[in-house]
């Protein structure tokens, strides 16, 4: 438990009769960027709200830095910065005033506000009313609010929502910076895998409230290891022939045999072997599932 910034143990959460989160066991290592992935309505935001104690979890199911959240609410919240759904911004106050208000609530120096505005590139719009901000600017202000207390753990719910490509890259770099240089732990949710793939060190995939995959980004990549698809006649005997010759059959349809891809040379050898033994190979190609498809597959089967 000591190595996790966030750990949930068989977390369950319902709204009335509706099950929102089911037996969720998140393990977010300290110092990681944890991509929390899932389609819309999968339970990501609810989970983040539980981690902030905005929604009350059953006792002994949620631990932040090893401490049970319900009995350590204030101490835990001191170590967390969060951006949940739409950024919580007072429209009648300027961007800077919004940050100063946050400084007041956190009991920190008001000069932090300017620092944060520069960090998220809002220094020029500091004195503009926040309701005149564009969606992207609001999102940046939300990120500034989450960062202002210099928290050890950041919970960012779809932080690149509404940002243009430049803004997305900036947020991405900021996250990498925070994790590598400042040893922050970041849990970032998204419904786009491509979004997470470039920054995350760890990934959790959730759908309909259940965790379908959890591991490092490399472990996720391993799931999508390349395959060799062989279209061949006499499929049954070809299949048993390959097994006998020591090949591992990953999948077989009535037309195609799939084996793990190792190298181009090995593929050629396999082709020769089949032909020499009287099989007709009509096609032989390397197939790699990209992560996006993998993600779709993982969430679809649930």
């Amino acid at each position: 438990m000591g190595n996790y910034a966030i750990e949930t143990v068989g977390l369950n959460f319902n709204f009335g009769n509706q099950v929102i989160v089911k037996d969720l066991s998140l393990q977010v290592p300290k110092g990681s960027i944890y991509g929390f992935l899932g389609p819309n309505g999968a339970g990501k935001t609810t989970t983040i709200k539980i981690l902030l104690n905005l929604l009350k979890s059953p006792s002994d199911q949620v631990f932040i830095f090893g401490k049970e959240i319900n009995s350590n609410r204030i101490a835990t919240l001191k170590r967390i910065g969060a951006l949940v759904e739409q950024p919580a911004i007072y429209g009648h106050l300027t961007g800077k005033e919004n940050l100063i208000n946050r400084c007041i609530l956190l009991g920190i120096k008001k000069t932090k506000a300017d620092e944060m505005l520069s960090l998220v590139g809002l220094a020029e719009a500091a004195n503009k009313k926040a309701n005149k901000y564009s969606l992207g600017m609001k999102q940046r202000l939300g990120i500034a609010q989450a960062l202002i207390s210099d928290p050890e753990l950041l919970l960012l719910d779809e932080p690149t929502n509404g940002l243009d490509p430049n803004g997305i890259i900036e947020v991405r770099n900021l996250m990498i910076d925070l994790a590598t240089k400042h040893q922050k732990t970041i849990l970032v949710s998204s419904h786009l895998l491509a979004e997470i793939e470039r920054t995350a060190t760890h990934v959790g995939i959730i759908n309909k409230g259940q965790l379908l995959f959890q591991g490092t980004i490399n472990e996720l990549h391993l799931l999508s290891k390349p395959m060799l698809e062989i279209e061949v006649d006499k499929i049954e005997s070809a299949s048993s022939f390959l097994t006998k010759s020591g090949y591992e059959i990953a999948a077989k349809t009535d037309r195609v045999i799939t084996v793990p891809f190792t190298s181009a040379q090995k593929s050629g050898e396999l082709n020769t072997l089949l032909i020499q033994n009287g099989f007709t190979v009509s096609s032989l190609y390397q197939q790699r599932k990209d992560l996006e498809n993998l993600f779709l597959d993982i969430t679809k089967t649930n």
């Binding site: 104690n53 905005l54 204030i74 739409q86 919580a88 007072y90 009648h92 100063i100 208000n101 007041i104």
Partner: protein, 265 residues
């Protein structure tokens, strides 16, 4: 205590540019200004009645108190209870507020106290402006005899009563505004309550004091009656003030439980 103080400072910081805050200052300035202007421009008519100093003050103070106590006060309180909560509903900031490392009681109590503070400021200004403008009238119209009677006790007593009698309405409306983000529901209930309050208070129904909305009217009516006898001796803590305070305490506690159970969906 620190969390409560921080939350209070933040409430002030957030609202200082809103109508809710300025209403607390503008309302007494406008009402007292208009009454003073009336006493200034219509001074001949008033002087012709040859009021003794105490009666002159009574009429002058009564003009502001009458407007305030009967109609404006309940609606002002309803508006204050609405606006301190609405600032969070409107900006969808409840989630941010409750994700801060502050205990929920401080956040809730600070909002409540801030609403109380706004009402206090408003009524304090009413009392001081009435006092100050009275002496200003004396300077502008030297024939008046405002300077021959010191109205401070009667002003303090009546505005303290008005202030305390508003707690019942405030606590009730505070809960309604906490629960509902829209303007119409708490305002509609408050409007019906206020009308009922005025009617029940004025027809002298025995149990009128049980309706929190009738308490300012009841509190002031006793003031008015007593004023003709000995204005300095009317008690502040009468039945309606106690009722108001009891309502306030009970509803404040209920409101806190609503806050702790409030799910931020």
């Amino acid at each position: 205590m620190r969390a409560l103080y921080i939350s209070l400072v933040s409430e002030f910081y957030k609202s200082r540019k809103t109508l809710a805050f300025w209403a607390a200052i503008l309302l007494p300035v406008i009402v007292c200004g208009l009454i003073t202007f009336g006493f200034y421009s219509g001074s001949e008519k008033i002087l012709a009645r040859h009021y003794p100093p105490m009666m002159l003050w009574g009429n002058y103070i009564g003009a502001a108190l009458g407007v305030m106590g009967l109609l404006v006060m309940p609606f002002y309180v309803i508006f204050m209870a609405f606006s301190v909560n609405n600032i969070e509903h409107k900006n969808d900031t409840w989630k941010m507020l409750f994700a801060q490392p502050l205990n929920k009681f401080s956040i809730y109590a600070a909002k409540y106290l801030y609403a109380v503070f706004l009402i206090l400021i408003c009524l304090f200004l009413f009392a001081t402006l009435t006092y100050g403008f009275g002496y200003l009238l004396q300077v502008l119209v030297p024939e008046y005899n405002f300077n021959q009677y010191n109205p401070s006790s009667i002003l303090i007593n009546s505005y303290t009563k008005l202030f305390l009698s508003s707690f019942g309405i405030l606590s009730l409306q505070f809960i309604l505004s906490l629960l509902w983000g829209d303007f119409l529901k708490p305002m509609g209930i408050g409007f019906v309550g206020t009308i009922m309050g005025i009617i029940t208070a004025n027809v002298g129904w025995k149990y009128a004091y049980l309706n929190p909305y009738s308490l300012p009217t009841l509190a002031l009516r006793i003031t008015k009656v007593s004023k003709n006898t000995d204005p300095l001796e009317f008690p502040i803590f009468t039945q309606e003030i106690w009722t108001s305070l009891i309502y306030a305490i009970i509803l404040f506690i209920i409101g806190y439980f609503i806050v702790t159970k409030k799910s931020i969906k």
